[in-house]
């Protein structure tokens, strides 16, 4: 047992690597922080476009969403990162990760936002339009607030997944938490750094996961 602990939960190592892991965590959070707003807003634009009456546009939106939901994000990232040089562009790992994660996350957000908008009853838009509100104002002030409130739980769920997904950036050498952990692991010949990284993810995300369970329970109970 002692040996198990000192191998996987070695306190000395944990303390020693903590500063480096801290910086890794910051980079994880930074990447999440820049991808979230961009993919969320992009998702709004896509889901709004999906409401268009024109058949080809609605189809294109559906295709975009299905495409990026089906594409494993790691493969997308690697494709972007390794293929770009052949197009004459040298991509910074952070930028490649940003693009890949935004494309992926925006499709998930768009899907959730779309179902949120559909959940708002049509009478709301009718009332707004009947007072002379234009399409944009109706969407911004009446429909969207209600739509987002209705799909809070999947939105939060997607955001948690987004933060976890930043781990793939380690593959293209962006020094976020996992990358630092792997480096430490090979440097120190110990699995403790990996365990520490897992624990840090757990500590950071656990409150949100718990909160989400409670939300999802309410959702299923409502049905």
């Amino acid at each position: 047992m002692d040996q198990f602990l000192s191998t996987f939960f070695n306190i000395d190592i944990m303390v020693a690597i903590l500063p480096a892991m801290g910086i890794g965590l910051l980079k994880t959070l930074f990447l999440s922080a820049i991808v979230f707003p961009c993919s969320f807003v992009f998702g709004l634009l896509i889901s709004a476009a999906g409401m268009a009456r024109s058949r080809p546009v609605a189809f294109a939106v559906r295709a975009y969403i299905d495409f990026f939901r089906s594409f494993p994000p790691l493969v997308l990232l690697i494709l972007i990162y390794y293929a770009a040089p052949f197009l004459g562009v040298q991509l910074d790992p952070l930028l490649a990760a940003f693009v890949a994660l935004t494309l992926n996350a925006s499709s998930y957000y768009a899907e959730v936002q779309r179902s949120g908008i559909e959940s708002v009853e049509i009478g709301q838009a009718e009332a707004a339009r009947s007072t002379g509100l234009g399409a944009v104002d109706t969407y911004l002030w009446v429909v969207l607030p209600q739509a987002l409130r209705n799909v809070m739980s999947p939105l939060i769920g997607n955001t948690i997944e987004l933060v976890k997904l930043t781990a793939i950036a380690s593959v293209v050498s962006y020094s976020e938490l996992l990358k630092v952990a792997k480096e430490m692991q090979s440097l120190l010949f110990s699995p403790t750094p990996l365990v520490t990284a897992a624990l840090i993810y757990f500590v950071v995300l656990w409150p949100f996961v718990r909160w989400l369970s409670r939300f999802e329970r309410q959702l299923m109970e409502r049905d």
Binding site: D66, F86, I168, A197, W206, D223
Partner: protein, 223 residues
């Protein structure tokens, strides 16, 4: 334009690498199927165990479920692959991938099934027990089928997400699509294999995403 074809759609290279890629495809599918089966089965077991509310075990199961939903799949896979040698287990990349993904999926599935169990009205339990059925019988015959049925739409989404994690196997030496594409890309200094690999992934996942949407729709209306 010629450059793009030569680099990304190079027919000769595609032809040359196709056999390896198809073998990788087989590995991907195999890993996905096994991980999904084990994961869902594991989730059922955990949810069932939780129904018995055994004191210490229940707490441990909760921690298990929270842990594997808060930690990114890639981190779990890396931990399994690099950590198990330290307890005397030498797993192949493929096995580690299957095991890691199964652990993650079982945590999500357990949460989904457990929520399903909890939302079955108390009246159902009372009806069953009052006719002399034992707890286990009520659970198995009356409650679980309902719980599983309620969880199917949510579960399909989650299952696909985890299945896409087979791509992470490339990082821990599983010889699946991505890993084969990457080495081919390095051998030929040409990203066509990556493009081909991406297409193979889409071939697997686009139908799955369509199917899941169909499943969601079918299982949401009836109850």
């Amino acid at each position: 334009m010629d450059d793009i074809v030569r680099y990304f759609l190079n027919v000769e290279i595609a032809y040359a690498t196709l056999p390896d890629l198809l073998r990788g495809f087989g590995v991907t599918v195999r890993m996905a199927v096994l991980a999904v089966i084990l994961g869902i089965f594991g989730g059922l077991v955990i949810a069932t165990l939780r129904a018995y509310r055994i004191p210490v075990l229940d707490q441990l199961l909760v921690v298990f479920m929270d842990f594997f939903r808060a930690v990114p799949s890639l981190v779990v896979l890396v931990m399994v692959y690099f950590g198990t040698p330290y307890i005397g287990l030498l797993l192949s990349g493929e096995t580690a991938t299957i095991l890691g993904l199964a652990l993650v999926l079982s945590a999500y599935a357990a949460e989904i099934f457990w929520t399903g169990i909890k939302t079955v009205p108390l009246g159902q339990w009372e009806a069953g027990l009052s006719t002399g059925l034992r707890f286990t019988e009520v659970l198995a015959i009356i409650v679980m089928p309902r719980a599983v049925r309620m969880g199917i739409p949510v579960l399909t989404n989650r299952t696909i997400a985890v299945a896409k994690g087979t791509a992470y196997g490339a990082i821990i030496s599983a010889e699946e699509i991505l890993s084969v594409s990457l080495s081919a890309q390095q051998t030929y200094a040409n990203p066509t294999p990556l493009v081909l690999g991406a297409l193979l992934y889409l071939l697997v996942f686009i139908p799955l995403v369509q199917a899941s949407r169909w499943i969601e729709r079918t299982y949401s209306i009836r109850h």
